[in-house]
């Protein structure tokens, strides 16, 4: 996909969406992530109950890529199990690293597949993965909390 298309697709759909931008009520996990290359920060908030993500949202500003990626991520994980979220984040990071390339497998990522070509822009990879890395931290904490 051309860079311009990625941008167009990403923003029209996601980057300026406010849908998932709020503080989660009674959040069980609030995890901060930071992109050292630009200082952008994200606060990921989950409410997990019985292993299910009842609610998920994020706060913070950042570039279009990080915002859109986080927005799509929340779309995907809300209402899913923590295990499932973990699986998706592994899949996403695997895709970005170029380790998972099978389109069949990647279908699960739905809109997040748009970031596949970001691996050609190493300087922006950190933007695309910011939300997902933060999710991994949150998942680890959620699993610890229940074990």
């Amino acid at each position: 996909m051309e860079l311009e298309q990625i941008y167009t697709q990403i923003i029209t759909e996601n980057s300026r969406s406010k849908e998932h931008k709020y503080a989660v009520k009674d959040a069980t996990q609030v995890v901060e992530g930071v992109n050292p290359s630009c200082g952008d920060e994200i606060s990921l908030q989950l409410r997990v109950k019985d292993g299910m993500i009842e609610d998920a949202a994020f706060l913070g500003d950042g570039c279009a890529i990080s915002q859109a990626s986080a927005n799509i991520m929340i779309d995907l994980i809300k209402g899913k199990s923590v295990k499932e979220a973990e699986h998706l984040s592994n899949l996403f990071l695997g895709m970005i690293k170029g380790e998972v390339t099978d389109d069949g497998q990647l279908d699960e990522l739905e809109d997040a597949q748009a970031f596949k070509d970001i691996s050609h822009m190493p300087a922006r990879v950190k933007c695309a993965v910011l939300g997902w890395h933060t999710l991994q931290d949150a998942v680890t904490k959620a699993e610890k909390a229940t074990s």
Binding site: L3, G39, D40, A123, C127
Partner: protein, 406 residues
């Protein structure tokens, strides 16, 4: 397009996505003219040996090349040869000062003054020394325009200040600092004055006799020279009184099992095998600069700088930082409304226009200006008005990519 200066830079001849490369990040590092690349090649193909170590003819040529480079730097700065210390870069020069001068001259209760404009490399070393010895680190603040007011200098540089470290030119705003006033005031209160010339050396003639400072640092790679070579200049009495920083081969007078004595200047500060190839490249870069002349450089760059400022100022949705008043060189900082600087940089890159986005290693300044990040276009002598046009054209597209109407 066939600018006679630009054609001397092999890297700038490349195309990206079919478009000529427009390099506007010379504040980060410059490109090298053929003359510099050739000089380094000649050194490695003809004269390479370990300087100061071999008594054979080849070794003598290597030593002559290395010490000749020092002489070139010395005359460039209007300084004495022994006062010119080769380092890796400005950062190492400033760390050398912090460790060697700082740790041995500062004590609890002393004050160190820096400006809020500083690059991290002229800030963190002083933070570290101040923490280590219990000294106080004080900032000269600017107004929102990036200018340090006179009162600030009067008020902050007072008795008890032992060292003042300031950048000559801001790497973000391109503004030339009021060095004369700061240095005069520093000396009035008995402080030592350190000038970070990383961003001024490529644009302004430096003369240590006139600058009235005690130490000065710059990097070769921002001055058309190869990476891996930098300079610390210092007043001889001060350098002589300082202990060595790095120790090891070549910086000694004699070594016994439990102690050692040091070589005279400049060797005292040059431990281990030095980057002679880099020094030769720096000397060639200086000769190249001198063949053009700072007068021409300033004229050319001023024209492009003003044009850059004015073109951006004309555009809607663009915020410029700093002020068009006063003396500038190098950098122009800006943001595009509603677009994160990293996205701006990525979008411009699709048009082969290279600008930098981020905090530019000046986080405290950005915080002070109420920013987290911004874009920076920075120019060198090879940049032209055409480069500015390419930037302006590409900037037009940025908001459209992100779905804004205009």
């Amino acid at each position: 397009m066939t600018d006679t200066i630009k054609t001397q830079f092999p890297l700038l001849q490349q195309k990206q996505n079919g478009k000529p490369l427009v390099y506007l990040d010379s504040g980060a590092t410059t490109q090298r003219p053929q003359a510099v690349l050739d000089a380094v090649k000649h050194f490695y193909e003809q004269d390479n040996a370990n300087p100061h170590r071999g008594a054979y003819e080849l070794g003598e040529r290597a030593t002559a090349a290395y010490e000749g480079a020092r002489a070139q730097v010395a005359s460039f700065l209007n300084a004495q040869k022994e006062e010119v210390i080769f380092t890796r870069n400005a950062t190492e020069s400033l760390n050398l000062l912090a460790y060697s001068w700082g740790l041995h001259n500062l004590k609890a209760g002393d004050k160190v003054v820096v400006s809020i404009l500083e690059h991290h490399s002229n800030l963190i070393p002083w933070q570290q020394v101040c923490h280590a010895v219990g000294a106080e680190l004080i900032f000269l603040y600017t107004g929102q325009d990036g200018v340090i007011p006179d009162e600030e200098i009067e008020k902050k540089i007072t008795k008890g200040v032992k060292l003042v470290a300031c950048t000559h030119v801001s790497n973000v705003l391109g503004l030339v600092s009021p060095v004369e006033k700061i240095a005069a005031r520093a000396h009035e209160v008995g402080a030592v004055m350190v000038l970070d010339c990383a961003q001024s050396a490529p644009h302004l003639k430096l003369d240590v006799q006139k600058l009235n400072v005690d130490f000065l640092a710059f990097s070769g790679h921002k001055l058309y020279a190869p990476l891996g070579i930098g300079v610390l200049w210092g007043r001889r009495e001060l350098l002589e009184a300082m202990p060595p920083f790095l120790t090891g081969g070549d910086m000694i007078d004699s070594v016994r099992e439990q102690d050692a004595t040091w070589a005279p200047l400049p060797q005292k500060f040059e431990a281990g095998t030095q980057n002679a190839g880099g020094a030769v490249g720096l000397a060639a870069a200086i000769r190249w600069i001198q063949s053009i002349g700072y007068e021409t450089i300033e004229k050319r760059e001023n024209d492009v700088y003003r044009y850059l400022w004015d073109e951006l100022a004309k555009m809607p949705h663009i915020t410029l930082y700093g002020t068009p008043e006063g003396q500038h060189c190098g950098a122009v900082a800006f943001n595009v409304e509603g677009v994160h600087p990293h996205d701006v940089s990525t979008i411009l890159d699709a048009d082969a226009v290279c600008v930098r986005a981020g905090h530019h290693c000046a986080q405290p300044l950005l915080t002070h200006l109420g920013l987290r990040a911004c874009c920076r276009a920075s120019i060198a002598v090879y940049n032209t008005r055409e480069d500015v046009d390419a930037l302006a054209n590409s900037l037009q597209k940025v908001r459209k990519w992100l779905g804004y109407g205009t």
